[in-house]
C-alpha cells in the first residue's frame, strides 16, 4: 500500500493541503471540521485506490459541485445555514478533487507516453542487435558453406572410388585449397571478435602510419591511386598494438583505393585534436571515390556487409577496424557523399583513462 504513494501523489496532496490552510483563515472551526470530514475520505480514496476509483470520485465530486450551487441557493433562501454550508463546501471540495484528478490523469498520460517510447527504443535496439547476429550468421553460413560443400563432396567422391583416377589428384587439391580458404575466413572472424589482451607498447603513431602507407603504395599505384601522407610535426606517442593499428589503416586505405576504380587521390592524415576538452589523435583516410549510399551508411561497420563485388571483399574489413579501434578506447566515424567520396576518421583518446563509451560488441550507428 505504502509504495503506491509516490512523487505524483505528493503534488495533489500539497495542493489540497495548502488550499485547506488558505481557506482556514475564512472558515469557522465547524467549517474546517466539515471540510476535513469531506476531504479525507475523497483524497485518501483517490491516492490509495486505482484510477477507476479516482474517476468515479471525480464524477461524484462534479455532481456535488453542481448540487452545492443549487443547495446553497435553496439553503440560503430557507435560512438553513448549516445545510447551505454543507453543500457549499462539498461543492468547492468537489472542484478541488476534480482538478486533482485531471492533474493526475494528465501526469499518468505523459508518463505512459514516455514509457511506451522507451519501450519502442529498447525493442528497436534489440531488433538491431538480433539483426547484426542474424547477418553475421548468414555471412558465416554463406562464406563457409560453399567451401565446406566442395570439400565434403570431393572427399566423398574420392572415398567412394567414384572419381576417375585422373581426377583424384584434382579432387584432393580442391579439398586442400578450400580448407585453406575456410581457415583464412575463420582467422578473419577471430580478428574481428578479438577483444583486449593485445600486446601494446608506447608507439609513435606517425611511424606506424608512414610504414603502412609505404607498404600500400605499390598496390595503390597499380590502381592509379596516389596516396598522400600528412603527418604532425611533433610525434604522437600512444600505447597501441602497432600491428593492429597498421591493420586498421590498411583496411581503410584499401577501401579508399577500391572506391576509386578510375584512380584518384587519397589523403592519409594524422593530427592532434581536441574533443570534448580531451586531447585526441585523429587518423583520417579520405578518398574522392564513389562514396557510400545513404542507406548503406548505417551498415558499413556490420560484419560481412559489403558493396564490393564477389571475391573483392569479405565485408569484414571495416568491422575488424572498428573492433580494434574500440579495443584501444577510440571510435571510427564516417563522413561520405554519394558520388563525391568518403572520409573515415579514427579517433583515439590520448589522455590515459579518457576512453569513449563503446558498445560491448558491435556498433549501432
Amino acid at each position: 500500500m505504502i509504495e503506491r504513494i509516490d512523487r505524483r501523489s505528493v503534488v495533489p496532496l500539497a495542493l489540497v493541503a495548502s488550499l485547506l490552510i488558505g481557506l482556514g483563515d475564512f472558515m469557522t472551526g465547524v467549517e474546517v471540521a466539515f471540510t476535513l470530514l469531506y476531504i479525507f475520505p475523497i483524497a485518501l480514496g483517490t491516492w490509495f485506490r486505482d484510477r477507476a476509483f479516482g474517476n468515479s470520485l471525480a464524477v461524484l465530486s462534479a455532481l456535488l459541485s453542481v448540487a452545492g450551487e443549487l443547495g446553497w441557493r435553496v439553503g440560503h433562501g430557507m435560512h438553513l445555514h448549516a445545510v447551505s454550508m454543507l453543500w457549499n463546501h462539498g461543492g468547492s471540495l468537489g472542484i478541488f478533487v476534480l482538478c486533482v484528478e485531471v492533474l493526475r490523469r494528465l501526469r499518468a498520460y505523459v508518463e505512459g507516453e514516455r514509457q511506451s517510447r522507451q519501450l519502442a527504443v529498447e525493442q528497436l535496439r534489440h531488433a538491431e542487435r538480433l539483426n547484426v547476429i542474424g547477418k553475421l550468421a548468414a555471412g558465416v553460413a554463406h562464406e563457409l558453406g560453399t567451401p565446406l560443400n566442395v570439400i565434403a563432396t570431393n572427399a566423398e567422391l574420392v572415398d567412394a572410388g567414384q572419381a576417375p583416377p585422373e581426377l583424384v589428384h584434382r579432387c584432393c587439391r580442391l579439398i586442400i585449397e578450400q580448407s585453406e580458404r575456410m581457415a583464412a575466413i575463420i582467422r578473419q572472424l577471430l580478428d574481428f571478435g578479438r577483444r583486449g589482451g593485445s600486446d601494446r607498447h608506447a608507439t609513435d603513431l606517425g611511424a606506424v602510419v608512414e610504414s603502412t602507407v609505404r607498404l600500400l603504395e605499390p598496390l595503390a599505384r597499380k590502381r592509379h591511386v596516389e596516396l598522400e601522407l600528412s603527418l604532425p610535426e611533433e610525434p604522437i606517442l600512444l600505447e597501441v598494438n602497432h600491428l593492429e593499428l597498421g591493420q586498421v589503416l590498411s583496411n581503410l586505405a584499401l577501401n579508399a583505393v577500391q572506391a576509386m576504380p578510375k584512380g584518384g587521390r587519397s589523403l592519409v592524415e594524422l593530427r592532434r585534436d581536441q574533443e570534448r576538452g580531451h586531447p585526441v589523435a585523429v587518423l583520417s583516410v579520405s578518398d574522392e571515390g564513389t562514396g557510400i549510399r545513404p542507406e548503406d551508411v548505417p551498415r558499413v561497420f556490420d560484419p560481412f556487409f559489403t558493396t564490393k563485388g564477389v571475391g573483392e571483399g569479405t565485408g569484414l574489413g571495416l568491422a575488424v577496424a572498428y573492433g580494434i579501434v574500440a579495443d584501444h578506447g577510440g571510435r571510427v566515424s564516417v563522413a561520405t557523399e554519394w558520388g563525391r567520396g568518403s572520409r573515415f576518421d579514427v579517433i583515439l583518446p590520448l589522455a590515459a583513462g579518457a576512453t569513449y563509451k563503446t558498445s560491448a560488441t558491435l556498433p549501432t550507428v
Binding site: 558453406g145 560443400n149 566442395v150 565434403a152 563432396t153 566423398e156 567422391l157 581426377l167 564477389v310
Partner: protein
C-alpha cells in the same frame, strides 16, 4: 519397368540427360559437374545470374525438353538464381529445378516453394544430393 532407361544410369543408346548448373564458385561448379557426370548426366555450366539468364533464354527459344534439370545457387553476382528462374518460370514447366544455398532463410524457402522447386541447403552430402536430383526429376516428369 525393366525396359525403361533409368535417369541415373542411361544406356549408351539414349543421349545423356542434360543438367544446367549455375554457381559463381568455380570449385563448386567443378565438383557438381564431377558428381553429376558420375551419375550419368551431361553438364552445362553458368558462372553467374546473367549466364543463367541467357542459357534459359536459349532454352526457351529452342523449345527442347533438355536440360531436364536446372541446379542454381541462390546468391550469385549480377542476378540471383531465384530472380532468374522466377523470370523464366514458364520455360521451366516440366523441368526439375533445384536451388542450393548456404543460408536457406524463410523468404528463400517461400520463393523456392512458390516455384515448385527443391531447396538443398549447403553443405550437403553426395547421397543427399543424388537423392534430391532423383526425386526432383521424378516429380517433374510425373503429370501434375
Amino acid at each position: 519397368m525393366s525396359n525403361e532407361v533409368s535417369v541415373e544410369r542411361p544406356s549408351t543408346v539414349r543421349r545423356q540427360p542434360r543438367v544446367l548448373v549455375a554457381d559463381d564458385s568455380t570449385e563448386q561448379r567443378w565438383t557438381l559437374r564431377l558428381a553429376l557426370s558420375m551419375m550419368g548426366f551431361e553438364v552445362r555450366e553458368a558462372a553467374d545470374g546473367r549466364e543463367l539468364f541467357w542459357a534459359l533464354e536459349e532454352l526457351s527459344r529452342s523449345g527442347g525438353s533438355e536440360p531436364s534439370l536446372v541446379i542454381a545457387d541462390v546468391y550469385m553476382p549480377t542476378y540471383d538464381g531465384l530472380e532468374v528462374l522466377e523470370a523464366w518460370r514458364d520455360a521451366m514447366a516440366g523441368r526439375a529445378v533445384i536451388f542450393i544455398t548456404a543460408f536457406p532463410d524463410a523468404v528463400v524457402s517461400r520463393r523456392v516453394q512458390a516455384l515448385g522447386a527443391d531447396l538443398l541447403p549447403k553443405p550437403f552430402t553426395l547421397r543427399a544430393f543424388s537423392d534430391c536430383v532423383r526425386s526432383s526429376l521424378r516429380r517433374a516428369r510425373a503429370p501434375s
